[in-house]
Amino acid sequence: MSLMQQMNQRAMELGVPLAIHLDVTYRCNERCIHCYLDHDDHGEMSTAEIEDVLDQLAEAGTFFLTLSGGEVLMRRDFFDILEYARRLRFNVRIKTNGVMIRQREAKRMVELGVENIQISIYSHRSEVHDAITKLPGSLKRSVEAIRFLKSQGLKVVIANVLMTANSRDHAGVQALARELGVTYTLDPTITPKMDGDTSILRLRIPSSELNSVFHNPDLVGNVEEFCAPPPPPDEGIMDEYPCSAGHTAGYISPYGDVFPCVQFPLPTGNVRKHKFIDIWRDSPALHEVRSIRAKDLPVCSTCSHVGTCTRCPGLAYMEGSMRGPSTADCEKSFHRTGIPSANMLRKARANSSGPLIQIQPVAI
């Protein structure tokens, strides 16, 4: 077990919110076609409120802090927030589209000791990237931002979300990342909007392309290992927690709402009404999340993928039950290994079984 894993384990045992994702705004200068957010400002926390939350998080033991949005730089006080967070010695990661980052902003970020900056790039071609962001010139600006950040010595990660509009461009983005000397990550997950609207799920890449992504050594490394059939689940696996959401990781919205994760919109409390630590320790919803082990998942506990699946409890929650399957992850497990999930088999059986007796009235 690595040192980091040991500390994660300890945080889990002590109930410490080791990693918090804080969205400082939902406002954005891009209008990405797959975005799950409502970009209107419904009453963001003020600078003082956010600083108070940061004090509380430091007190609670949070070490990893992700500042994201919306677009973080839409807040004029973003650097005040960042400076405050770094004074409290958080390990800060920033997620941004980079459009508003020039030499000055890049310099400030390195001065403040930011751990890394993640920038979304959808394609190496402007016509594709800009059509997704709906902001003309955005690819050019984002790539320039990466160059500014790299020139300051900052670690940059390109996040390449795959969807129908850019499904063939990952090799181009990967080559761009190599040319820029930055890390490349790919994510084929499109999530429902936070209000439950699932219309954007039509942008998910088709199954056939998901299959080719998972069997592409340039993307997954060792294909044989990555696509290996799951080992038979043992008792230890059945006793494991589904993921770190609500255990050592949490999410706070710009309005102060606390959720187990950015992809898990289960209301647990609001820092404008209660202290963060009281929500973290006493929320019945968080207690319920923490009570769930793999063996408690009615469908997934019977699935051969139970020990290796990337099942997201948040996506499962948005599908109807935090104990249920996450269909998107069932499909990933299937296309990775060729073995259908218990959920897929159950649905297939339900679809194929007609009524035992069919009676059709005959018109005389």
Binding site: L3, V16, L18, F63, R89, G113
Partner: protein, 104 residues
């Protein structure tokens, strides 16, 4: 030992977890944990207190042998300074990071 002065770098992330200090360098992303004694040295690294005086405090607080404490402190400084986690000087260090807020 000629006196050294040490100060915590501002380019790090740090937090106490279950009695140990976690530290990550923003320079090279190296991750460290410090035990109780090392944490005490770390927390006293204000750039103004000589290392010998910091070691004196550690001896008093943890009842360790002076030779052992001194050797450990020097090794601690040697190991952390190349990662930019501690700044070391033969003179007191006037660094604003020493006064920065830290929740432990």
């Amino acid at each position: 030992m000629s006196d050294k002065y040490i100060v915590r770098s501002s380019a790090i992330a740090a937090r106490m977890l279950g009695g140990e200090m976690m530290i990550m360098s923003a320079v090279d992303s190296t991750f460290f944990t410090l035990n109780e004694v090392a944490t005490a040295i770390w927390q006293s690294a204000d750039g103004r207190t000589p290392l010998s005086e910091i070691v004196g405090g550690v001896i008093e607080q943890f009842e360790v042998e002076p030779d052992v404490a001194l050797r450990d402190a020097e090794r601690f400084v040697e190991e952390l300074s190349p990662h930019g986690i501690l700044l070391v000087s033969d003179h007191p260090i006037d660094d604003s990071s020493a006064g920065s807020r830290e929740t432990v």
